[in-house]
Subunit: 217 residues, 2 copies
Amino acid sequence: MSAAPREGSSTGRGRRPVRPSGDDRELAILATAERLLSERSLAAISVDDLARGAGISRPTFYFYFSSKDAVLLSLLDRVVAEADTAMREVFGAPAASAREGWQRAIAAYYETFRVHRALTVAWAEARSSNAEVRALWSSVFERWVQQCADAIEGERARGAAPPGLPARDLAIALTSMNERVLYATFTGDGPSVAEADVVDVLLGVWLSAVYGAVDGV
Amino acid sequence: MSAAPREGSSTGRGRRPVRPSGDDRELAILATAERLLSERSLAAISVDDLARGAGISRPTFYFYFSSKDAVLLSLLDRVVAEADTAMREVFGAPAASAREGWQRAIAAYYETFRVHRALTVAWAEARSSNAEVRALWSSVFERWVQQCADAIEGERARGAAPPGLPARDLAIALTSMNERVLYATFTGDGPSVAEADVVDVLLGVWLSAVYGAVDGV
DNA sequence: CGAACGAGTCAACACGGTGTCGAGTTACGC
DNA sequence: GCGTAACTCGACACCGTGTTGACTCGTTCG
């Protein structure tokens, strides 16, 4: 119940026994999951729905995945890979101005999640109920925070940004903001920033937090 | 299933029929819920746990509350009332300096949730699964955003803060940041700001976002 | 060829949770 | 002492999860 019973095979997530071959079924399950997630919440999707959608019975589903959450994790692994690629590109090619660099990073982050918005929302939902999802998120988040903190320190070192809050704390706060603001924008529940403005708004806060020195207030 | 069957009585949340008298039971359920929430997640608490904890049977529980979520909502109503009081005090008595004003607002926000951290965490958890919780949160959040946006516009009007992003968008972004950062700090999952530093970090970002003009980056 | 093996499949089951119904029991006013 | 309304709970219907064991294939190898 607490610890997830993952199998020993090297592929890790997914299949129960050992080797591949019913790949189509597995793919069908993943596709069904992504499709259903764009219609309703994860909690409202049963294993039976996924199985039927993939043209198999419920017990057969368990041959491919150990639970509904394992399907989500599988889907998430892919998005994480995409997001990492996007981040690497952004941080790889340096920009014309600092503003543009940050702008590109935030836009990339936004874009990655926008493309998979159903997954993004399900992710947030599952995070509170599943330890593995939480762990995956933590590791992704940690990587971003680290990269941002390094970037902030870089800007301070070259004299472009003034000293201020510890770079890591600042990076955590700003990355958290991005996450929460984008989530609200995607779901549209409660007060949220319009999708067209969200990158600009986030960028504005990032720039003032990183470059704006405020002392005499 | 989708719409929650709330009763017609004026008190709204809680009791099923009409008048009070088994108040002790009701209180016992609420107390049990708050106690159990400090030990485990909402999802891991069953109606049976709440009933047993209050010394009644499961069906009897349903005499007092229409579901587990209704109990949470009841608890939340109280915290919201507290938070509103705290906010009113903060925004009521004007501070020595602008910095101190914002500092007090953020600290009040922090303090309210810190005191009820188990509830705060459960709240975030339930928000993704329950429409009523989501609606309650939205209304609370909207009030804060409104108040912050007004404060920001006030500062701009008196010339203390430079013009910049639309005040409402800025307020949404910053309030969202507070929410997410505090949540992470309270749960301690993933990268988070230390509890002792969190108010300072948030304050720093708020001040630079509201007062720091950043143009030439 | 045919036995045997393993991947893939599913009906049937055990379990645990939710919410309801109806038959009680108690307490209090009349 | 009796009616009635608050309150209580055993038993039930329902749904979702995850498991078991028996079955069907296709392949491979003696």
